[in-house]
């Protein structure tokens, strides 16, 4: 998420103590960018409005993953990518850059708003809110064998063209040659920064060549995308195991105030009720555990 108006941090809390909406004058946030033509899924839904999605697909994306993906439409990125896109982004999560924040973009639907295209030259546009010099832009299109109700895998992509050592401006155009296709396809781009950063940005733009897609062939790979939740009462999680006094700390265990555990041979006492998680081992979180 990026700041449009900075929510008061500690230093400025004096302006409105206790008020979450105590705001500072802000620097308008700029981030990086996304494909504006043909528009990426993030671009489409942010244009519809994060709080006012119009299309069924954007409504579903917000329902599945929240509005944050569309407030931060220009930050669908991996800071640590460094060209290792296929290693860090699992199949089925390409459109969302493998990040839970952007999981709504991964929905495998045949009704994402799509731009009509034809085989042959296509001028594409990248809208960079914060252009970065010296970047590489890679463009891909789905193979004819792909179908929009299938999660997008790396093996579904056919490379079109890469432009290296680019210096994008606010709106940068390239011309790429679209191969013969019919039906709905995805144009996928990777904007990999080269100087000063390993950050890479990812976009999925739904396009329609007209005609039909092949009937999807069932794949043995399980669908990694999460199904859209239905409006039912929220589920109760499986009760977490409660601890034995003095037992070894274990992630997933619910600890009450006063509970004792051992970890690394040391005994700790719980200060705040919580369910233990990785990263919250007793020596790491003095706010939760007091060493005895």
């Amino acid at each position: 998420m990026h700041l449009r108006h900075k929510v008061a941090t500690g230093a400025a809390a004096a302006i409105g103590v206790g008020s979450v909406l105590a705001l500072l004058p802000s620097i308008p946030a700029v981030a990086h960018g996304s494909m504006s033509n043909p528009p990426s899924r993030a671009y489409v839904c942010k244009t519809e409005g994060p709080e006012t999605p119009k299309s069924a697909a954007c409504k579903a994306a917000v329902a599945a993953g929240g509005t944050q993906a569309f407030y931060d439409w220009h930050e669908v990125s991996r800071l640590e990518a460094g060209g290792n896109h296929r290693q860090i982004i699992p199949d089925g999560q390409l459109c969302g850059a493998g990040r839970d924040k952007y999981r709504g973009l991964n929905l495998a639907r045949a009704d994402w708003p799509a731009t009509s295209v034809s085989p042959g030259p296509l001028t594409v546009t990248y809208h960079a809110t914060a252009p970065h010099a010296n970047s590489n832009f890679e463009f891909y299109i789905t193979k004819q064998s792909w179908s929009p109700t299938q999660p997008l895998r790396w093996s579904d992509l056919e490379h079109i063209r890469t432009f290296n050592n680019q210096n994008p401006t606010q709106f940068t155009n390239w011309t790429i040659n679209l191969p013969q296709r019919s039906g709905r396809q995805l144009i996928f781009s990777i904007w990999q920064r080269v100087v000063g950063s390993t950050e890479a940005f990812y976009t999925c733009s739904d396009v329609n060549f007209g005609g039909s897609n092949p009937t999807p062939v069932p794949t043995p790979t399980p669908t990694p995308t999460r199904p859209t939740p239905t409006p039912t009462p929220t589920p109760t999680p499986t009760p977490t195991p409660t601890s034995q006094p003095g037992g070894t700390w274990r992630a997933g265990t619910a600890y009450a105030v006063g509970a004792t555990v051992t970890y690394g041979g040391v005994t700790y006492q719980c200060l705040q009720a919580h369910t233990a998680l990785a990263g919250w081992e007793p020596p790491n979180v003095p706010a939760l555990w007091r060493r005895l």
């Binding site: 941090t9 640590e80 290296n164 390239w174 011309t175 100087v195 999460r226 790491n284």
Partner: protein, 249 residues
């Protein structure tokens, strides 16, 4: 204090959370991380506004022109010159331990980011949410407050401010965080919607933190800070998994 500008090496990676575009920008200095005076650095032309056509000069790879080989090469169009991540050289030492610009930037971004997270989770206090959600929110609040104490303490020991100036971020990617608009939408949410919206917002917030942490682990120099970053990555990732479970995905 003048610092020798290290030779720019393509393999020397810089934290991009602040989106700094050159090593010079991450030299740091008494004014805080990412001092942009860039004294002695070659002037970098500002990208022009407006539309232009991407260059077709420079190395360009079309189908069949990819230079690398591999079993899935037909799907790969990896560009040239992507930097391999590695820590930048140190810019200071405290108590005999060296730190670099990535360390400074990570701490300066996490302190306010944690504060925003604390304010988010406190929104739950006077709203109807399930006990499990409340418990998680409270635990996140106290742990992040405590983290910030450690982080601020380090910055203080290093003679660096707790946060970077706003404008040090504006030219780059901006500082990750919640917007006024998003918080207002959450507060205005109906009781039936509040918990889901809260979880989505916090998932996004923690995802942003994990991103910053992943980069620091690779680009940081100071062992205590890179370990803090590792724990931020692990803990936020675990929290996200828990929240997705609570949300019913």
């Amino acid at each position: 204090m003048k610092r020798a500008v290290p030779a720019v090496v393509l393999g020397s990676l810089l934290l991009s959370g602040c989106g700094a575009d050159s090593i010079q920008e991450l030299r740091g200095g008494p004014a805080g991380h990412g001092a942009h005076d860039a004294a002695g650095a070659p002037a970098r032309p500002m990208p022009a506004q407006g539309t232009h056509s991407g260059s077709e000069h420079g190395s360009d790879q079309g189908p069949g022109e990819d230079s690398a080989q591999g079993p899935d090469r037909s799907a790969q169009g990896a560009g040239a010159g992507v930097p391999a991540p590695s820590p930048a050289p140190p810019v200071g030492t405290a108590a005999g331990v060296a730190f670099n610009p990535s360390d400074v930037m990570f701490l300066q971004m996490m302190v306010p980011h944690n504060a925003q997270g604390v304010r988010l989770v406190r929104l739950v206090r006077d709203r109807q949410v399930r006990p499990e959600v409340r418990e998680l929110a409270e635990a996140i609040g106290v742990t992040q407050e405590r983290e910030s104490v450690s982080m601020s303490g380090l910055l203080d020991a290093w003679g660096r401010p707790a946060t970077a100036e706003d404008d040090e971020h504006a030219a780059h990617g901006g500082m990750p965080g919640v917007s006024e608009e998003e918080v207002a939408a959450l507060i205005a949410a109906s009781p039936a919607e509040f918990e889901r919206r809260f979880l989505d917002m916090l998932i996004a917030q923690q995802d942003d933190a994990a991103q910053m942490a992943k980069v620091e682990v690779v680009t940081g120099l100071h062992p205590e800070v890179t370990e803090m970053a590792r724990l931020v990555d692990v803990s936020r990732t675990a929290q996200i998994a828990r929240m997705l479970t609570l949300r019913g995905k």
